[in-house]
Symmetry: C2
Subunit: 197 residues, 2 copies
């Protein structure tokens, strides 16, 4: 290996950037914001990350990877698949207390901000959503096998339903809903799965 080694942690800096994009959105996060938060100079930034847009795509992928692995572990470690599903919904209520603000979900925020004008980003968002849907699908099938959810409705429809409800809950958090509201709605949604014929 030749030359002076990189002093800052590239992954750490990307993580910081991701948090910023998550909290403020792409356009509202200026280069100055990024440099200040990442603690590096403009020179290092462009040498390492090529452009703001490239960095954002990396952040989006990183967010998706973390989300997917967190959910997968959650499902694997949950007492039952049904408990995983319940936790996934009810846990959104904690977002109302997030000290970093009501940030929602980076993928859904991105879909809202500019998946309409950047097909690259749009594909990335769709892939991310599909990945989370697949985990829910796995959980639903297992819960149906356990008898916790009726098998009268196709598992893929229930997985779509779960993704939709989580999206909706996250949206409501951003729109100012109270913790109690989110809990009530989440718990009711869980009941709908349990009590459907």
């Amino acid at each position: 290996m030749l030359g002076r080694p990189r002093k800052f942690d590239e992954n750490g800096a990307r993580e910081v950037a991701m948090q910023l994009f998550w909290a403020k959105g792409y356009e509202a996060t200026s280069l100055s914001n990024l440099l200040a938060a990442m603690g590096i100079s403009k020179s290092s930034f462009y040498q390492t990350f090529e452009s703001k847009h490239t960095l954002f795509e990396q952040c989006l992928n990183q967010y998706r990877d973390i989300l997917v692995s967190t959910m997968s572990e959650g499902l694997a470690n949950a007492p039952t698949p049904m408990m995983f599903i319940k936790h996934a919904l009810v846990d959104v209520a904690n977002d109302t207390n997030d000290p970093l603000g009501r940030r929602g979900c980076l993928m859904m925020n991105t879909a809202s901000e500019f998946s309409q004008r950047d097909s690259n980003i749009a594909r990335c968002v769709e892939a991310g959503i599909q990945a989370t849907k697949d985990i829910f699908l796995q959980a639903v099938k297992a819960a149906q096998a356990d008898g916790d959810i009726s098998s009268n409705t196709r598992a893929d429809i229930l997985a779509d339903y779960l993704v939709t409800v989580v999206s909706g809950l996250k949206s409501q958090v951003k729109a100012g809903a109270s913790r109690k509201q989110i809990i009530n709605t989440a718990e009711f949604s869980v009941r709908t799965l349990q009590e459907m014929a």
Copy 2:
């Protein structure tokens, strides 16, 4: 009345601006975009609407008023309250074919874009959501009286649930979901209301 009368239609121009803000968001809609779409000069713009931000607040209020009155009429004219609820959900599927793009809901888009950094806007969004929730609440109570929805769950929780599901469906549309997916999810959500114990 003194002086030269206004040549362009103020409400019409505001409507055009609303459509732009709805499709592109606040920041992504530049003044040039607005002037071109509204068909007026910069001078007329500032004389009539004070600022981009002021105009946006007016558009948000107008959107809310139209949404509320559309929903109210929909409920009043529906064969049954339950049919109104079903239509409100399933109709979101048509957003996938909107020639103006997958715009979502201006209020939710706004919540996502910057209700975190503008308390004025945040209050406006919350009021708008509350207004739609109230209409759903009315519909739910009526449907419970009709026996179309069980009275075992509090009507206000069901109203929150409906707002959440609609938000989620609109989010999914923006994120690229297919028409069929939206219909399936919407119809399943309706069934959850009908078949809950």
